[in-house]
């Protein structure tokens, strides 16, 4: 499959969540379009030589700002579009590998002591790297979606 066509899978990925959150039917297309747009922006950044955290941040900002703009135009609430659109960018593989690594440490006791030590170090390193990557991507996503809050002035009340 063409790598860019693969990005279209972000649309069904967002659709299920839009249904779960009871998004009004007329906004479903917007949610899916925004999901593809965000995910493709991330791919563009990564292809241009950026890392995945920066890519997610930019993808999130694209989603956040577009959602704000569309919401203004259609008298909607921005989170209706942005939450389901952001979900395809969740770093599932990194999170899975982190849990897998930690589980590996828990089941190590069957190995002899010396070997166990070495593999534990290896597993811990792998798990930590993946956990840190996943957290950074999640934080970048949250910052990105919240970009309109951060950039527009807000009166405290």
């Amino acid at each position: 499959m063409n790598a860019w066509l693969l990005e279209l899978w972000a649309a069904p990925a967002a659709l299920g969540f839009a249904l779960l959150f009871n998004v009004p039917p007329r906004s479903l297309v917007a949610c899916c379009t925004l999901a593809v747009l965000g995910h493709a922006s991330r791919k563009a950044v990564v292809d241009l030589g950026g890392d995945i955290v920066l890519g997610t941040l930019i993808g999130g900002v694209v989603i956040g700002i577009t959602a704000e703009w569309w919401a203004k135009r259609h008298h909607m609430i921005p989170t209706v579009y942005s939450i389901s659109a952001a979900i395809p960018m969740v770093p599932g593989t990194f999170m899975y590998k982190a849990v897998q690594g930690l589980l590996g440490i828990a089941t190590l006791s069957r190995l002899p002591a010396g070997m166990a030590q070495d593999s534990a170090q290896q597993l811990l390193t792998d798990a930590s790297i993946n956990a840190v990557k996943a957290s950074m991507i999640l934080m970048a996503l949250a910052f990105g979606i919240a970009a309109p809050i951060l950039f527009l002035p807000h009166r405290r009340d």
């Binding site: 990925a13 249904l19 942005s82 969740v90 599932g92 899975y96 949250a142």
Partner: protein, 257 residues
């Protein structure tokens, strides 16, 4: 902010009740703290109160409305209900209509009652099915092949059906996160043992993503950035507990597989 005199005739109790109900609906359908607070205040002012001060905690909301040195206060329990963006949008539009004086208090009350009664658009079986397809989409985004996508779709659909069932039975979130992630990953893993796929890992990683607590995390971040630190931390903590539930379910499933 003073409203035209024709509006000020509405009794203070009425203003209190309507604005608190609007706030309650926003709070329970996935609005962040700033939105809940603004909804209550705007509704009260639009209905003729001269001042409205709100309290929004994670599980309770309250407001004091003032008019000519008279004050009324009320609190409501506001347990979490899960996101319902149709409701959120409907209340936001209602508040706008009241502010622009397009509808009066009686119409507003009737519309709020209707919003409460309105059922979800989508039946549970459709949600379970399409959430399954969602996770298939995740598997594709992680580089999975067609077999991986199909297995993930079936596994996650089953997990989602279980989640909706346990949610209806009022199990605590931690429990249904654990049970659904365990089920989804077991079904996906067992299907992958039957049919061969070169991209097992993509399917396994994608199979539990339907449980990601996106609304608590994103609303939590919004609360933190709006300087509602306490509610923001509560929401993020809710999400973290849910994620721990998923991780426990996954680790159990991986031990079995």
């Amino acid at each position: 902010m003073l409203m035209p005199p024709t509006r000020a005739t509405l009794p203070l109790q009425e203003i209190l009740e309507l604005s608190l109900l609007a706030g309650l609906l926003v709070h329970q359908s996935g609005g962040d703290t700033a939105r809940t607070s603004a909804t209550i205040r705007r509704m009260a002012l639009a209905l003729g109160a001269s001042r409205a001060d709100t309290v929004v905690s994670s599980l309770n909301i309250g407001v004091t409305v003032e008019q000519d040195k008279l004050r009324e206060t009320a609190f409501r329990k506001a347990p979490h209900m899960g996101a319902n963006f149709t409701m959120l949008t409907a209340v936001a539009r209602l508040v706008e209509a009241v502010e622009e004086q397009r509808i009066d208090a009686d119409t507003a009350r009737a519309q709020l009652d209707e919003i409460v009664r309105q059922p979800h658009f989508y039946p549970h079986w459709l949600i379970a099915m399409l959430v399954g397809v969602s996770c298939g989409g995740f598997a594709a985004l992680f580089g999975g092949d067609t077999v991986a996508i199909a297995c993930t779709t079936l596994g996650s659909g089953t997990g989602m059906a279980l989640r909706l069932f346990l949610h209806r039975r009022h199990y605590v979130p931690f429990m249904f996160a654990m049970a659904s992630s365990l089920t989804a990953m077991l079904v996906t893993g067992l299907l992958l043992k039957l049919v061969h796929s070169g991209t097992q890992e993509a399917a396994m990683a994608a199979s539990v993503l339907f449980l990601i607590p996106g609304v608590p995390f994103i609303n939590g971040a919004a609360d933190l950035f709006h300087a509602n630190y306490l509610n923001g931390m509560v929401r993020i903590m809710m999400g973290v507990l849910f994620v721990i539930g998923i991780a426990v379910g996954v680790s159990l499933a991986l031990r079995i597989l």
